[in-house]
C-alpha cells in the first residue's frame, strides 16, 4: 500500500494504516525532536506525543505534504517539552541530556578509531551549539541543515514567511558558527574554524 493510500486509510481512523506511516516517519520525527531538545528521553516523549496528536488530527489533514504536516506537530510537541522543562528546571545529573546512540558514527568501516572519536566529539559540539540557539532559530536550522528541507517547506512547517525563514536561518547559522569558533580549542585541529 503506498503512502497516499495509507494516509487515506489513517484519515478514516485506521490505526494500522497510521502505524505504517509511523514506521515510515518515526526516524525523521525522532531526529528532529532530538536535535531540538538535545535529550533522548524528551525526544522520545515528544515523538510519541506527536504521533498520538497526529492520529487524532488525521481527519483534519486536508492533503498537501504529509511530511510537513507531521513535522509541524513534532516541532509543536518539542515546544511543549521545552515548556515543561522550563517549569521543571534541571537540578540533578539525571536530568542532564545523555548521549544519544552514536553507533551510527561507525557506518564507515575504513574509519580509524581515533577518527571516530574526533568525529563524535565534533558531533557533540555541534549539538551543543544547536541547543544554545533560540528555539525558533534552532528549529529552522534543524529543519534545513539536519533534515534538508527547503525554505518553502520550512515556511510551511513553521507557518512563517520565506523572509523569516531566511533571516532566522542566517542568524542561527551565524550563531552556531560563532559557537564552533569559540569551541575551536576543544576540537581537533582539522575541525577548528580559522579565526579571522
Amino acid at each position: 500500500m503506498d503512502e497516499q493510500a495509507l494516509i487515506e486509510s489513517a484519515r478514516k481512523g485506521d490505526a494500522r494504516a497510521f502505524n505504517q506511516l509511523v514506521l515510515l516517519y518515526q526516524g525523521m520525527a525522532y531526529n528532529v525532536a532530538f536535535r531540538i531538545l538535545s535529550d533522548p528521553d524528551a525526544a522520545s516523549d515528544a515523538t510519541q506525543d506527536a504521533f498520538l496528536k497526529a492520529f487524532k488530527a488525521m481527519h483534519r489533514f486536508r492533503g498537501g505534504s504529509f511530511k510537513a504536516w507531521l513535522l509541524r506537530i513534532v516541532t509543536n510537541a518539542c515546544y511543549d517539552q521545552l515548556r515543561r522543562k522550563q517549569r521543571r528546571p534541571t537540578s540533578s545529573l539525571d536530568d542532564l541530556p545523555v548521549e544519544a546512540d552514536h553507533s551510527q558514527y561507525l557506518h564507515d568501516p575504513a574509519e580509524k578509531p581515533d577518527e571516530y572519536v574526533e568525529r563524535r566529539e565534533l558531533g557533540h559540539t555541534i549539538q551543543a551549539g544547536i541547543s544554545m540557539l533560540p528555539v525558533e532559530q534552532r528549529t529552522v536550522l534543524v529543519l534545513s541543515d539536519v533534515q534538508g528541507l527547503s525554505y518553502i517547506e520550512i515556511s510551511e512547517v513553521m507557518g512563517i514567511s520565506l523572509g523569516t525563514v531566511k533571516s532566522r536561518l542566517s542568524r542561527g547559522r551565524s550563531r552556531l558558527r560563532d559557537y564552533m569558533v569559540e569551541q575551536g580549542e576543544l576540537l581537533p585541529s582539522q575541525y577548528r574554524l580559522r579565526d579571522e
Binding site: A15, R16, G27, Y30, E196
Partner: protein, 319 residues
C-alpha cells in the same frame, strides 16, 4: 558577543545576512551577483562565507540517530469480525405483519362490500328460487285438473260406442302426453331450483294423471270436446291437438284459459330466474374468493405475529 566582525556598515550587514541564502542558492541571480561582487572586496564576508559553509557541512553530516523504540500508537482491540452478519428480522416481520393486516382489512372490507351488493341480487335469486316451484306447481295443477276432468268423465255413464271411446282415449292420451311434454319444458327451464321442490311432485302428478287417463280409456263417456270433433272428423288426433291451450280449453275453458295465459309470464320469469341465478353465482364466486383470501391473510398474519413474538423472546433470552 561575537568575536567576528559584524556589519560595520549598512552595506556590509546587508550582504552578511544574505551569505546563508547565497550558500543555499536561494537568492535571485541579481542578488547573487551583487553578493559575489561584494565578496571580491570584503575579506570579512569571505571569512563569514567560508566558516558558515563549514558549519553547515558539519551540521549536515550529523549522524542519523536510530530510534530508541517504536512509536506506533496502540491499536484498538481487534475489531469484531462480521463473521456472520445477523440480520435483524424483527422489523421485517413487523412490517410484513402490518402489511398483511392492512391487506386483511381491505379483504374484509371488500367482502362486506360484495355482501352488501349481494343483498340486491342473491336474496332476489333466493326469492325467485322460492317462487320457481310455483311454475312447476302450475303445470302440476294443470295435470291434476286434467286428471280430475278425466276421472269425472270416467265416472259418468258411457254413452258413446267403444270405437268412439277408443278415439277419445287416444286423444286424451295425446293430451296427457302434451301436458307432460309441456311440463318437461317448464321443468327444464327452471332447472336445478325447481328440482328441489316442485319437479318431483309435478312429474308424479303428471304420471299419475297419465295412468288414470289410461285407466279411463275404456269408459270415457264424456261429450266430445271442441277439439274432439276435429279429431273425429278430420283423422289423426295429434293434429287436432297442436297446442296445450286447446287441450286445456277442453276440460275447463275459463280456468285453463287463464292458466294458459300465464304461460308467457312464467317463461319470462324463468329467464329472469336464470339471469339472477347467474348473477348470484358470480357474486358467490367473488365472495368465495374473498373468503379464501381472508383466510389466507389471516393465517399468514397469525404465523407472522407468532414468529415475531418468538424471535423477540429468543433475542431477550440471548441477552
Amino acid at each position: 558577543m561575537s568575536r567576528f566582525k559584524s556589519a560595520g556598515t549598512t552595506e556590509h550587514g546587508y550582504f552578511e545576512e544574505r551569505l546563508s541564502a547565497y550558500l543555499d542558492g536561494e537568492l535571485t541571480p541579481r542578488e547573487a551577483e551583487a553578493v559575489e561582487q561584494h565578496l571580491e572586496t570584503c575579506s570579512d564576508c569571505q571569512w563569514n562565507l567560508e566558516t558558515l559553509g563549514q558549519t553547515i557541512q558539519w551540521t549536515q553530516e550529523l549522524p542519523t540517530l536510530t530510534v530508541p523504540r517504536v512509536f506506533t500508537i496502540p491499536v484498538p482491540a481487534e475489531p469484531e469480525r462480521p463473521t456472520r452478519r445477523r440480520w435483524n428480522l424483527v422489523p421485517v416481520l413487523q412490517g410484513a405483519s402490518a402489511l398483511i393486516a392492512v391487506l386483511l382489512v381491505f379483504a374484509v372490507a371488500g367482502d362486506l362490500i360484495f355482501s352488501s351488493l349481494g343483498v340486491g341480487s342473491a336474496p332476489d335469486a333466493a326469492l325467485q328460487r322460492a317462487e320457481a316451484p310455483s311454475s312447476a306447481e302450475v303445470a302440476a295443477e294443470l295435470a291434476v285438473e286434467v286428471t280430475q276432468e278425466v276421472e269425472k268423465a270416467v265416472e259418468e255413464p258411457a254413452a258413446e260406442p267403444p270405437m268412439m271411446m277408443a278415439v277419445e282415449a287416444t286423444m286424451v292420451e295425446t293430451v296427457v302426453e302434451t301436458v307432460v311434454v309441456e311440463s318437461e319444458a317448464m321443468v327444464t327451464a327452471t332447472e336445478a331450483p325447481l328440482a328441489a321442490t316442485g319437479p318431483e311432485d309435478a312429474w308424479s302428478g303428471i304420471e299419475g294423471e297419465t295412468g288414470e287417463a289410461e285407466r279411463s280409456l275404456g269408459t270415457d263417456m264424456a261429450p266430445p270436446p271442441v277439439g274432439e270433433e276435429a279429431v273425429a272428423g278430420g283423422g289423426e288426433p295429434t293434429l287436432a291437438l297442436p297446442a296445450p291451450s286447446a287441450l286445456l280449453s277442453v276440460t275447463e275453458p275459463n280456468t285453463m284459459a287463464a292458466q294458459v295465459a300465464m304461460a308467457p309470464e312464467v317463461e319470462r320469469d324463468e329467464v329472469e330466474i336464470a339471469a339472477s341465478l347467474e348473477a348470484a353465482a358470480s357474486s358467490e364466486a367473488g365472495i368465495n374468493w374473498l373468503r379464501v383470501l381472508e383466510y389466507s391473510l389471516g393465517g399468514a398474519l397469525v404465523l407472522l405475529v407468532a414468529a415475531t413474538v418468538l424471535l423477540i423472546i429468543e433475542r431477550r433470552r440471548a441477552r
